[in-house]
Symmetry: C2
Subunit: 116 residues, 2 copies
C-alpha cells in the first residue's frame, strides 16, 4: 500500500508539468528519440533530459541508448495506475448518487399542491 502511494505520488507529480505531459503525449503515439521529444519544447537539452529523468523515475517512460541515439517509449502500465485511481473515485461518487436516488425514490410522494 505504501509503495502504491509512493508510485501515485511520483506519477501525479510527473504529470503536473506541461513539458512532461507533452512528452507523454508524443510518446503515446509511438517511440521517439530524445532529439524529437526536445524539438517542440522551449528549453535546453539538459532540461529535457531532466524532465525525462522524472518521467522514467515515475515509471511512465523507458529509454534505451543504441549507439549515440537514446530512444524513448511510453510505459502504459503507469498511466493505467493513475487512471484506475481516478476511476475508483468516480465509481465511489456514482455509487453515492445511486444511493441518493434510491433514497429520494423511497420517500412518500407529495400530493400536488393546489395552492401552488
Amino acid at each position: 500500500m505504501l509503495n502504491q502511494q509512493t508510485d501515485l505520488d511520483r506519477l501525479f507529480s510527473a504529470l503536473a508539468d506541461p513539458a512532461r505531459r507533452a512528452m507523454v503525449e508524443r510518446l503515446s503515439r509511438g517511440p521517439a528519440p530524445v532529439s524529437e521529444l526536445a524539438k517542440p519544447l522551449p528549453m535546453s537539452l539538459p532540461s529535457v533530459m531532466q524532465h525525462l529523468g522524472v518521467l522514467e523515475g515515475a515509471g511512465l517512460v523507458r529509454s534505451e541508448k543504441v549507439g549515440r541515439v537514446r530512444t524513448c517509449s511510453i510505459e502504459p502500465g503507469a498511466l493505467s495506475l493513475a487512471e484506475q485511481w481516478i476511476g475508483a473515485r468516480r465509481t465511489q461518487w456514482e455509487h453515492r448518487l445511486d444511493r441518493l436516488g434510491i433514497y429520494f425514490e423511497s420517500l412518500p410522494k407529495e400530493e400536488p399542491d393546489d395552492a401552488g
Copy 2:
C-alpha cells in the same frame, strides 16, 4: 488551451500528495466536515487546512462554512478532466497498437521452416 494546461498542472499537482488523495477519497463517498477529514491524518489542523486550500485551488473540492462548521464536497468535474487527459493518451496508445497489428497482418506469411 493555456488555461487547460494550468488546470491540469494544478490538478495533477494536487493529487501528488497522499494526504490530499485521502481527502479526495473520503469526499468521493460524500460531503464531510473538516474535522472528519482531519481525523485519520497524522498532522495538525492548520496543515489539513493548507491541503484543503490546494484541493480547492485545483477545483477538486469546494467547502462551505455554516456557523462554526466548514463542510467539504468533491467537485467531480475536475477529476473528470484528469481522467479524460489520461484516457486520451491510452486511446492514442491503443490506436498505435491497432495500426501495428494491421501492419503485421499485411506482411506476407512466412512458409514453415522445415530446418527449424
